[in-house]
């Protein structure tokens, strides 16, 4: 049975890719109606408030690595960074992005630079704003939790792969302003649920691009995920019914 798993994954990937393409083509020019998520609603207003107050936004991308565990969450965080950087591009104080991986910090610099260049304000970009805060979970938490006080931060977005240390970053972020958090680790999710006003749980992390309106591809992939999720639910229910019937008779 296990020899079939790669093929099952391959066909699921093909179906998902096909659905993303179909929804991207179908939705051209339109934006789907999405379920209300207070966390993402607050992002734009928090960035606006920080621009008005002359403070910074801190995007904490977590402890994941682009080549290794947590790459998916880092990439989702980088997607959200595009929108945050766009919204904050009119500010004299651009967002500060912290990560625990060299590649992620370089990618965050690239994302911010390309966004600032698109907005024609590349002179405001500073490479030091996409930084490696520390290595390893404890090192990263120690580096990221001092960022709000060191950089005049008024809004902290914790989005990425992070464990219970997310509670420390959220707690220090809350002392300097608002905090919105979406992390992948189950312990980290419980930690941010207890310590933040608007926690985002589970797959809501991967919906960042769609909710922040980064591109239609993000909205299309969210709809494709919904289709596959309903298929998975149907298969699970069908499996439960079939196994119950087989046991009874």
């Amino acid at each position: 049975m296990e020899t079939y798993y790669p093929w099952v994954a391959f066909f699921l990937a093909i179906i998902l890719a096909g659905l993303i393409l179909i929804f991207t083509m179908v939705m051209r020019g339109r934006w789907p109606v999405l379920r209300h998520l207070p966390g993402y609603d607050e992002v734009t207003s928090d960035v606006g408030a920080s621009v008005e107050a002359g403070t910074r936004v801190h995007v904490a991308l977590g402890e994941g690595q682009i080549i290794g565990p947590g790459a998916d969450a880092e990439l989702a965080g980088l997607s959200a960074l595009v929108r945050v950087a766009q919204a904050a591009s009119i500010s004299d104080r651009p967002p500060v992005v912290t990560s625990s991986d060299g590649l992620t910090s370089l990618l965050s610099q690239d994302v911010m630079y390309s966004t600032y260049r698109q907005m024609r304000v590349e002179e405001r970009f500073d490479h030091d704003l996409g930084r490696l805060a520390g290595l390893g979970p404890a090192g990263y938490a120690a580096g990221a939790m001092i960022t709000p006080s060191a950089e005049k931060v008024s809004a902290t977005f914790v989005i990425g792969a992070m464990g219970a240390e997310a509670a420390l970053i959220a707690d220090t972020g809350a002392q300097h302003g608002t905090v919105i958090a979406a992390v992948t680790d189950p312990v980290g999710q419980a930690a941010v649920f207890a310590t933040t006003d608007h926690p985002l749980v589970g797959e809501e992390l991967f919906a960042a691009g769609a909710y922040l309106k980064v591109s239609h591809a993000h909205a299309a992939s969210l709809q494709a995920q919904d289709v596959l999720r309903w298929i998975a639910i149907a298969v699970i229910l069908l499996g439960a019914v079939v196994s119950t019937v087989l046991r009874l008779f």
Binding site: D72, L75, Y113, R131, A142, F206, L228, R229, A232
Partner: protein
Amino acid sequence: MRVRTVLSVGIALFFGLLTLAGYFIPFKPLANLSGGLLYIAVFLSSIAMWVGAFNLSRIHIRKAASGKPGGGYSLVLFFSLWITFLVVFFSLRWNQDAVTIWIVRNIQLPLEASLSALVVFALLVGGVRLLHRRRDLMAYCFLGAALIVLFAAIPLPRGWLEEWLKGPDYYRQMLASIFLSVASGGGRGILLGMALGAAATGLRILMGMDRPYER
């Protein structure tokens, strides 16, 4: 589209799909090529880590030189980072693992343990404040579940435990299965959603729809 964009997207797609094909197609040369590409990527990521460490050092040196509050801590970080690096580098060169072990045991582990203690404190304060911030159903469910787990961890007096263990199996099993079903069902639901989200994120990169590498 600019030539540079086309080139960078083309390179990313080509090597991304080649690496993915190495996982799915049972063809040894392809698997070897995929492994080789990953090896190069890991090597490049270690160089990126170096760049990150230099960048971090520069930020802290600047902060210390600017005379801002907390500049002393930046100096401590800078010197401890590079002194540790030099000590570990030369101790490994001369096969003196004892120095590295001493640093890990006597400096790194106590510091990380202190930080873990702070996490517990932050969680405790967060849990206490939870109902002040949010008075919704999920907050009550979260607190209820946390309290049940905490009570379950308390060592009960011996008599109570024996009485409970002698009680009817049916109720105990029913209670356990309800909690296990709810917890594992919820956990699996979250995992399923996250797996789909992760797959979609990866596919967007492989399809060139998301380009974080573009400058």
